[in-house]
Amino acid sequence: MNDLAHIAFEEQGRVVVARLAGEVDLSNAGDLERSILGAVPNTAEGMVVDLSVVSYLDSSGIRMLGEMAERLKWREQRFAVVAPEGSRVRGVLTIAGAEAVVPYEDSLEAALDRVRGRG
């Protein structure tokens, strides 16, 4: 994996939070997907990917997020993305019409609530 993007993981209860920084494109999307999915144990309730500080996300990134959602759904784990209103990622997700595939929220709290089934 190149150093275009960095990930930091933390656990919020039984939810794994992956904070992404940098840029996501064709060059690192696959690697990121494997890293992030590998960090989610079967015991976890679900996962949140925080894209608040990601400066660029392309169609590969959207596909990555979609596939993560698919996999977790298949594992009966929930998934949400943090993409605050006005951020670069939110713009891309919006114009790509990704809302149906990638569930995104404005804040980490909202995303966590959604994963915990309270949203």
Binding site: N2, L4, L26, S27, D58, S60, V92, A96, A98
Partner: protein, 816 residues
């Protein structure tokens, strides 16, 4: 008076000399006349003539007027008329002049120390005096002073008197003068005493002889001889004067042996006696003097010879010493240069080897008798034929007396093979028959081994360095490697340029300690290691750390410096790691500066880092210069001076084209041969184009980041608003992603992106060599993004690739 003197060529002191000469002449003449035999004016001893001859000899004939005047005055009272006196005086003057003139003509020397001078005087004086005698006697006859029968008597007395005056008086005056002027050695006082004694005895004997009734004049001769033999001229002259005077006196007085003779007989006896005495005395004196002189010359000669023999002997022995010294030095030089010398007498077949020749052949000097065949036995069998052919050519005269230099191998008894460089020539008789062959050989084994290793190391070094660099988007790169000229030149220094994706390039330069094959091969391994770690995507600090560990692993004792600069061509940021390497230089419009580095120890020490990174920003258009210490490290200058000079040189070369910048810097920094390897790597950032953007990137995912950054900078420069900027970047990145995804094979390895502003639109064209269609379904999200971001997207698929054309108005907040 003065003018008159000048006209005659005379000087005042000549006049004085004439006066003194005249006075002496006159007084002597007056006294001599008392011995007159004929009338009152003919005397049998006339000293004035001797005085005149001596004076004219010593002081020059120009003094004649003194003599003429004095003679005239002396003759005036004793001749019948002034005319007769004048004529007589003329005769008295002419005679000495004639004598002196003849003596000068025959090379007479007044020192009288040669027999020929004495003989000349004894012959010439009477001849000359015939003049004065003839003139004087004739004058007396003409003026009736004498009668015809008396003429010959008168003539003979006159002639005898004048002659004796010259013979007896002139030598005495001459030797007194010459003695006074130091032309003879000074006599010892004891000798003077002996001379005085001899002269006393001579006086007594003379008086006895001239007064005795019996004719015993001859008794004086032994004593005269004694004086002449013992004291040479100093004995002869006074002795001759004394004896002549005594005899003359006796003749005048008509006494002793002259008793009862008539005048003519007396004159004949007297002149015969006087001439005999004078001749004996002076001849003997000159003979002895000459003998003494030749003995002296002989002694001087032999002494000189002895000195010269001694000198020559010393010179010879010195030369001998020097020769031995230089022979020893030559032998030492031969030993050091491993040069052997040989000689082959063709006639006898004898071969002579120098001591070093034996040593080169692995033997003690003189260890065996050498023959041609014995020497050939040493030669490697593959080289023997060649040597035999050369020797035959030499002997047959085909090789023009000098064989071309050859190189061959010899095999020592222990099997060691040595390389020999040989040079030989022939010396022959005039008709070309060979007499002997001689030559020198040099053991060049070490030299050849050295050259071989040098060549291999040089080849290896060049093979291990990158032959060309990949294109680096947004930058130009150039590099030079200069091997050291001395010693085992090549090896150790390296550089590399590695594009690592994302618009970044790793610049590498390093230096393995040492030279030669080992350094060169280790360099090759390190270069690949750094390249591999860099391509794996490690940050510079990690690359250095891993390379350090690897070097420590593969070569325990080796050490290398390393400088890594990872340059983000778009962001203009350089991340630098230095392991004991000099810092890079950045040249920009503001001048040249050293980029700050946090220096870590060289690689290979097993220090395990850390290798701290430092990041600096560089100007767009800046040139980075990476170098090895061979460029700045000169034995005659401190290293800080070298860096200062390099900064100045770098600044001076700021505007030079990148392909020439390395040569420019090397030319200014290195004068003459490099003493250490030098590697130099230069990278220049190409400033962003104002009007349009064109870039060509590898069709790989890592290029996307680079495309986005360059496009962002260009859009910023073109004052495109942020919203539009972001949308154009997204769309372009998606287009390039499609190209990358569908790239296959080498022909589709590149993607070209062009961006321009036209009619208020941003226009982007993405071209590739692949064939792809907009996929259907969800996979078409990229196309969807492109269409969403741009006002128009046109995808055109042709035979040789796909072209995506997109437009977006600059001043419209919404894409569609």
């Amino acid at each position: 008076m003065r003018a008159a003197l000048r006209r005659t060529g005379l000087e005042r002191r000549d006049l004085l000399s004439m006066a003194v000469l005249g006075a002496v002449y006159g007084v002597t003449a007056f006294l001599s006349l008392r011995l007159a035999l004929v009338e009152d004016n003919v005397t049998p001893l006339w000293p004035p003539t001797g005085i005149a001859v001596a004076a004219l000899l010593l002081f020059g004939t120009r003094l004649w007027p003194g003599i003429a005047l004095a003679a005239f005055i002396v003759n005036l009272p004793i001749t019948p008329s002034p005319l007769a006196a004048a004529v007589t005086a003329a005769g008295n003057t002419i005679a000495p002049i004639v004598v002196v003139w003849i003596l000068h003509e025959v090379g007479f020397r007044t020192e009288l120390d040669r027999i020929r001078d004495v003989v000349t005087l004894l012959v010439v004086a009477p001849m000359g005096m015939a003049v004065s005698a003839t003139i004087g006697a004739t004058t007396l006859l003409v003026s009736n002073e004498i009668i015809q029968p008396e003429y010959w008597q008168t003539w003979s007395v006159w002639w005898a008197g004048d002659s004796m005056g010259v013979l007896v008086v002139a030598p005495l005056l001459l030797i007194i003068w010459n003695q006074a002027h130091g032309r003879y050695p000074s006599p010892k006082p004891i000798a003077l005493l002996e001379l005085f004694g001899v002269l006393c005895i001579l006086v007594v004997v003379s008086l006895l002889a001239v007064t005795a009734d019996v004719s015993v004049l001859f008794l004086v001769l032994p004593i005269v001889g004694w004086a002449a033999w013992r004291f040479q001229l100093w004995g002869a002259a006074p002795a001759a004067l004394l004896v002549s005077s005594a005899a003359t006196w006796a003749a005048v007085q008509n006494r002793g042996p002259f008793q009862g003779e008539d005048l003519l007989d007396r004159m004949i006896t007297l002149q015969g006696f006087n001439a005999t005495v004078a001749f004996t005395a002076f001849f003997l004196a000159a003979l002895v003097a000459e003998r003494a002189r030749s003995r002296e010359a002989l002694e001087r000669g032999s002494a000189e010879l002895e000195v010269r023999v001694e000198q020559r002997t010393k010179e010879l022995s010195d030369a001998n010493l020097r020769l031995r010294g230089s022979e020893r030095q030559l032998a030492e030089a031969h030993e050091m240069a491993r040069i052997g010398r040989w000689e082959w007498d063709v006639g006898t077949g004898d071969v002579t080897w120098s001591e070093e020749m034996f040593r080169i052949h692995g033997a003690d000097p003189g260890a065996f008798p050498v023959t041609f065949e014995r020497a050939m036995a040493f030669v490697h069998e593959d080289d023997r034929t060649r040597i035999r052919e050369d020797v035959e050519a030499l002997l047959a005269g085909r090789a023009k007396n000098k064989a071309p230099d050859i190189e061959y191998r010899i095999v020592l008894p222990d099997g060691e093979i040595r390389n020999i460089h040989a040079r030989s020539k022939i010396s022959a008789t005039i008709n070309g028959a060979p007499v002997r062959l001689l030559g020198i050989v040099q053991d060049v084994t070490e030299l050849r081994a050295f050259e071989r290793e040098h060549r291999i190391a040089d080849t290896l070094q060049h093979a291990l360095l990158p032959a060309s660099f990949p294109d680096v988007e947004g930058a130009e790169v150039a590099a030079r490697y200069v091997p050291a000229e001395t010693g085992l030149a090549a090896g150790g220094d390296w550089f590399d340029v590695i594009p690592i994706g994302g618009g970044r390039v790793a610049l590498v330069i390093g230096d393995v300690a040492g030279h030669g094959l080992e350094a060169a091969s280790l360099m090759g391994q390190l270069r690949l290691a750094v390249r591999a770690y860099a391509l794996e995507g490690h940050p510079p600090g990690v690359i250095a750390e891993r390379t350090d560990a690897l070097l420590h692993e593969v070569a325990q004792d080796e050490m290398a410096t390393l400088l890594l600069v990872v340059l983000d061509v778009e962001a203009l940021a350089a991340t630098i790691v230095s392991a004991g390497h000099p810092p890079p230089i950045a040249i920009s419009a503001d001048g040249a500066r050293l980029l700050p580095v946090v220096s870590a120890p060289p690689l290979g020490l097993g220090s395990h880092g850390p290798f701290p990174e430092s990041t600096v920003m560089v100007d767009g258009g800046a040139t980075l210069l990476l170098y090895t210490d061979g460029l700045i490290d000169r034995p005659d200058l401190p290293i800080d001076d070298g860096i200062r000079r390099l900064l100045a040189v770098a600044e001076a070369n700021a505007d030079v084209a990148i392909v020439d910048i390395c040569d420019g810097v090397l030319g200014a920094m290195v004068s003459g041969d490099a003493s250490d390897d030098i590697a130099l790597l230069a990278l220049r950032l190409v400033p962003v184009e104002e009007g349009s953007l064109t870039m060509r990137v590898p069709a790989e995912p890592e290029s996307l980041q680079q495309v986005r950054r360059r496009l962002r900078r260009w859009l910023e420069t073109a004052d495109v608003p942020k919203q539009v900027r972001d949308d154009v970047i997204v769309a372009t990145s998606e287009a390039v992603s499609n190209s990358v995804r569908h790239a296959y094979g080498p022909s589709s390895a590149w993607v070209e992106v062009q961006a321009a502003l036209s009619n208020g639109d941003v226009e982007v064209v993405v071209r590739d060599r692949g064939r792809w269609r907009p996929p259907r379904g969800s996979g078409g999200r990229g196309i969807g993004l492109m269409r969403a971001c741009m006002a128009s997207v046109d995808i055109e698929q042709g035979e040789d690739g796909t072209v995506v054309r997109m437009r977006r108005p600059v001043r419209s907040a919404v894409a569609t």
